[in-house]
Symmetry: C2
Subunit: 130 residues, 2 copies
DNA sequence: ACAAATGATACTAATATGGTATCATTAATT
DNA sequence: AATTAATGATACCATATTAGTATCATTTGT
């Protein structure tokens, strides 16, 4: 039950760093500060750019910059980007084991717990991580 | 963030079934009722036997039987058996990224959420799943 | 023109999960 | 005592996910 993966972890760290230094920051700087493998960090930042959480600047002196305010970037959002739409794996529905999907008690319990996790994650933004 | 894996799922289903039919039950019966692959089901039951949740009976007419009362078997216990000591992956400590382990905010938040998950899981026993 | 940056994309490695296969052991039945 | 139907133990294989690398194209400041 690994709550977050390395992707997410590194992304959050990068975002925290960037929210403290709100100018254009190169991959190199982040790599040096955070100790994350360079190509992996790049991949993560590129993704955050595609998702419009960062803006990117090519060419000499280029890098990345926060596009959103740190209090508008939520942890759950980052998790969804790197870990998919978390919590929707229908492990109990496979092979028709669960005779009554709606009622299946186990399923309902799990969902309730997942929901509580989401609510808690939904409250955490980058500001609250600094 | 898959909360439970197939192992756990199948184990819980088997335990639920067995708590409704409290005699010796063979792998074959469980396989037929639950539609789980036979060798996989065996492996799971053998493990539950090793963990002293089930008792096993060899030879003709043999099988497995609950060793504990259903209200004494907790979901969290089954998860720990099949998914390891859940929640203790030190993903943030790797490579010394986290400068101050005690204070690391992200880590603390994650732990708080995990704790709440454990509390909720700690309340669910086999009886509450039937 | 050149160098320093990201964009895009394909590939590889490691780990975890899900599942099989096989032979040994036990015990009821005959 | 032999047979048979069950589990015990263990090693193996397959698939999916996660983590990370490599490479070439594109952009832009100097």
């Amino acid at each position: 039950m690994k709550l977050i993966t390395r992707n997410t972890d590194y992304a959050l760290r990068a975002l925290c760093y960037m929210s403290k230094h709100q100018d254009i920051i190169s991959v190199d700087e982040l790599v040096n500060k955070l100790g994350v493998p360079r190509p992996f960090m790049r991949k993560i930042l590129q993704r955050l750019n595609q998702e419009r959480i960062l803006a990117s600047y090519k060419g000499q002196g280029g890098g990345f910059k926060l596009k959103l305010k740190p209090d508008r970037i939520y942890m759950i959002q980052i998790m969804r980007i790197f870990q998919g739409n978390v919590g929707l794996n229908g492990c109990f529905l496979k092979k028709g084991i669960c005779p009554d999907k709606v009622r299946c008690v186990l399923r309902k319990k799990i969902h309730a717990i997942e929901d509580s996790v989401f609510r808690q994650l939904g409250k955490i933004n980058i500001v609250s991580l600094i």
